[in-house]
């Protein structure tokens, strides 16, 4: 038995916004539940109200258009991303990151947006969304606003989302389609494990190279605006200057730095060849 809470499943945005406006921080949003229910069970969070967002109309699915880009809605699971034909053909970095997230069972429930709003430094979807220049569309009773992922993460488990707000969708710009990219995550076992370090790299059609490093700072770190042809030593130097790894139970900072360099060089070889 889990701790006590009230379960609500609003069917419209307006209903959801009202619940959040009334309950604020006493409400926890439930999308896939693969983080929330673990935290509830462990007693790390004590929501008064658990608000299931999966029944909200207009929160389902993944859409693509040249005008709006790639839109991933709040209820879209990781396996929905992996099964989407447009993402498979034009967003290889999203596929690589989604593929590395946890296990098949978790990917059937976990959502892209749930992964980023939890704001773990090792969140697998953050590197892809940062590298691809995506933004979040956040709404509340007060209105709607857009926040770029480069301004989204505020610290370990902290984001730009206020307690009365919900991330409705993420938008990957159409200009990021057709780029090249890859992702490596160091972990002890396949399946589910917290990443020790993660490195994503993409080169868009315009020739800009961007990298994101996970698990090496309080938030995922984006290094952007690089020329696609920049020599590997210079790329490594820029990346290592941007991160601030610590030693903890999973690895030392020296090992993390070493593996980040290794993955950067490997990705440069693979993505640029």
């Amino acid at each position: 038995m889990l701790q006590h809470f009230t379960y609500l499943a609003p069917k419209t945005r307006a209903e959801l916004h009202s619940v959040l406006a009334n309950e604020g921080a006493a409400a926890s949003l439930l999308a896939g539940g693969t983080d929330l229910l673990v935290n509830v069970r462990a007693g790390l969070v004590h929501p008064k109200v658990v608000v299931d967002t999966k029944k909200v109309e207009d929160f389902a699915g993944i859409a693509w258009s040249e005008r709006d880009g790639l839109v991933i809605y709040a209820s879209a699971t990781i396996n929905a991303v992996l099964g989407d034909a447009k993402i498979r053909s034009d967003f290889p970095l999203l596929i690589a990151c989604a593929h590395d997230l946890a296990s098949h069972q978790i990917r059937n429930r976990a959502t892209v947006i749930g992964n980023v709003v939890n704001a773990s430094p090792c969140a697998d979807m953050a590197p892809a969304l940062l590298c691809l220049g995506a933004h979040a569309v956040i709404s509340s009773k007060r209105g709607e606003r857009e926040v770029s992922f480069s301004a989204f993460f505020k610290g370990v488990k902290r984001t730009a989302v206020a307690p009365d707000e919900v991330v409705e969708r993420v938008v990957v710009p159409a200009a990021s389609a057709g780029g090249r990219g890859g992702y490596y995550k160091l972990k002890r076992i396949n399946g589910h494990d917290l990443g020790i370090v993660g490195v994503a790299l993409c080169i868009d059609r315009g020739g800009e190279m961007r990298l994101t490093v996970g698990s090496c700072a309080p938030t995922p770190v984006l290094i952007d605006g690089l020329e696609a042809s920049l020599p590997a030593d210079a790329v490594v130097a820029k990346v290592l200057a941007a991160i601030s790894p610590i030693s903890d139970v999973r690895a030392t900072k020296e090992y993390r730095s070493h593996m980040v360099e290794y993955y950067v060089r490997r990705l440069l070889d693979e993505v640029r060849s």
């Binding site: 038995m1 809470f5 379960y7 229910l37 999966k54 069972q105 396949n190």
Partner: protein
Amino acid sequence: MKIRVTINGALYEREAPETINLLHFLREYVGLTGTKEGCGGGECGACTVLLDGHAVNSCLVLAAEVDGKSVRTIEGEADDGQPSALQQAFAKRHAVQCGFCSPGVVMSARALIERNPKPNVEEIKEGLEGNFCRCTGYVQIIEAVLEATGQEASTQERSDA
């Protein structure tokens, strides 16, 4: 709250707390104890069931979320007391030792076979990566899935599982 859910083809209606997860709902309110609780936190896969055909960890799903949906558990595998071909392959290939993980492994394998009728060894490993077995060492489990899908199961590298 009242929860209505179709389990292995039969409709169940139960009054249960809204805080209960699907795993405990199945075990304590429906009496289907084949689904096991291992870690209770989505790591081990012992509690795997199919929710609308997709493998999920039933410990990480609230019973309230499955109201109106369809669930399949290990009890739905056998047909009139006769083990399914998948279960028979697990027995034949010695893919069961203590057996605690087996209901979850079989349900993950079931979901895998339904989306990919002839999975290769890599696909089997990926499909079952969310299921821990601490006895068999996985080789026999992989062979059982190969066997159940009509594939040669004895030529696999025993060391790379």
